[in-house]
Symmetry: C2
Subunit: 216 residues, 2 copies
C-alpha cells in the first residue's frame, strides 16, 4: 500500500480514526462508532482519541462530515446519468434536479449506515441565525440542490416565483423518503419497489413546484 509520510508515532491518526469510524458505521450505523470501538479498530488506545477530538460527539461529527462527502459523490454520479441524454437547456436543468433527488435516495439505499451518519447536523453552537441559512457552512449535498434549482430558474424551467423557497419542499420530500425507506415503514422493501417509489416522490415534488396554479 502507498505508505504515507508518517509523522509522529502513528502518522495521521486523526484520519485513521475517521476511516475506522466510516468502516464501522457502514455496517453498524451511528451507534457502532464509539470511542473504544474506533480506537480498537485503529489498533490504538482509547484515550488517544482525545488528542484529536474534544469529545465523543466531536468524533461522530467528524465521521458524519466524511459521510456527507460520500453522499455528495453519489449525487454527482446520478446527476451525470440523468443529464446524459437530456436535450435542451430546460430539460437538462430538470434532469439535473431529478438527479440530485435520486442520487440522494441512491446513497441512502446503498449505504444506510453512512446515510444515518450524514443526517446528523452538527448544530454550530445551536445559533438560531435570523437568516434562513448561513451559506458559509452549507454542506455539499445541499449546495448541489441549490445550484440545480438556480439552473432551473435560469433555463426558464422554473419561474422566479416558483424558485423562491423551492429548496425546502425538494429537500423535505427526498430526505423524508430516504428516511422512510431506510428506517421507516418501507424498510426492507425490494430495491426495485423503493427505486420506483423514489422516482414517484421526486417527480411529484417537481411537478408540485411547477404546478402551483392547479385545479380548485
Amino acid at each position: 500500500m502507498p505508505q504515507v509520510t508518517r509523522t509522529y508515532h502513528h502518522g495521521d491518526l486523526r484520519a485513521a480514526l475517521i476511516d475506522a469510524g466510516l468502516q464501522l458505521a457502514r455496517t453498524g450505523g451511528v451507534d457502532s462508532v464509539g470511542v473504544r470501538d474506533v480506537t480498537r479498530e485503529a489498533g490504538v488506545s482509547p484515550a488517544s482519541a482525545y488528542r484529536h477530538f474534544d469529545d465523543h460527539r466531536a468524533l461522530v461529527v467528524a465521521v458524519a462530515l466524511a459521510a456527507q462527502d460520500h453522499l455528495a459523490e453519489a449525487i454527482v454520479t446520478r446527476i451525470g446519468t440523468e443529464t446524459a441524454d437530456a436535450k435542451g437547456e430546460r430539460a437538462a436543468a430538470l434532469a439535473r434536479l431529478r438527479g440530485v433527488g435520486l442520487g440522494y435516495i441512491d446513497f441512502a439505499l446503498a449505504e444506510p449506515g453512512l446515510f444515518e451518519l450524514a443526517l446528523l447536523t452538527f448544530d454550530p453552537a445551536s445559533g438560531a441565525s435570523p437568516t434562513v441559512l448561513v451559506d458559509a457552512e452549507v454542506p455539499a449535498p445541499f449546495l448541489l440542490l441549490l445550484q440545480a434549482l438556480d439552473a432551473c430558474e435560469a433555463s426558464g424551467a422554473l419561474s422566479a416565483a416558483e424558485r423562491v423557497n423551492a429548496e425546502w419542499p425538494c429537500w423535505s420530500a427526498v430526505h423524508g423518503f430516504a428516511d422512510i425507506a431506510t428506517r421507516g415503514p418501507l424498510k426492507g422493501q425490494a430495491p426495485e419497489v423503493l427505486e420506483a417509489l423514489g422516482e414517484h416522490v421526486v417527480d411529484s415534488i417537481i411537478a408540485g413546484l411547477r404546478g402551483s396554479a392547479s385545479r380548485p
Copy 2:
C-alpha cells in the same frame, strides 16, 4: 388525584414508567430515556423495569408508541381547524389532507423531544414483508393520512390514478420537513418562518399529486 385501584406493590408501574419516559423525553429527547433515569423518575429501583420490559429497547419502544398517540391527537386537532370552514365535499377532503400534514408538523415543532421518539420504528423482527404495508400494525398517524387520501379520491379531488401510491410523497415531504425543522438546517428558526415553510411544503406536495400532467 384519581387514585386508581392500586394492585400489588406500586400500582401499575409499567404505565408509571412510560409516563416518566414521556416526561423525560419531552425535554431531553430519546437519549434521556434510559433504564436508570426512568426508574429514578418513578422512584423505584433500576432493575424493577425488567419485570415489565424485556430490554432497554423495549422500554423505549413502549414510550415511542405512547408518543405516537400524542402525535395522532395533534393531527386530529389540526384536521378540525382546517376543515372548519371548508365548503363542499372536495374542498373538505383537501382541507383534511392539508390538516394531516400541518398537524404532523405542528407536533414536531411543539414537542420535538416526543417527536423524535415517535419516529423510532420498532421493526418487528425486521420482517421484510412482500406487500407494501402490513395493515395490522400501521400506526395511527399513518392511518389518518390513508383515510384522508381515500376521502380525496371519493370526493373526486384526486383521480384513481393519482391516488395510487400517493401516501409516499405526502408522508415523505411532511416527515422530511419535520425532521429538517427539528434537527436539520432549519432548526432554531422562528416559529412563524417554520409555519410558513411548512404550509408551502404541504401545498407543494398536494399540488404535485394533482398536477401530474404538467408542462414539458
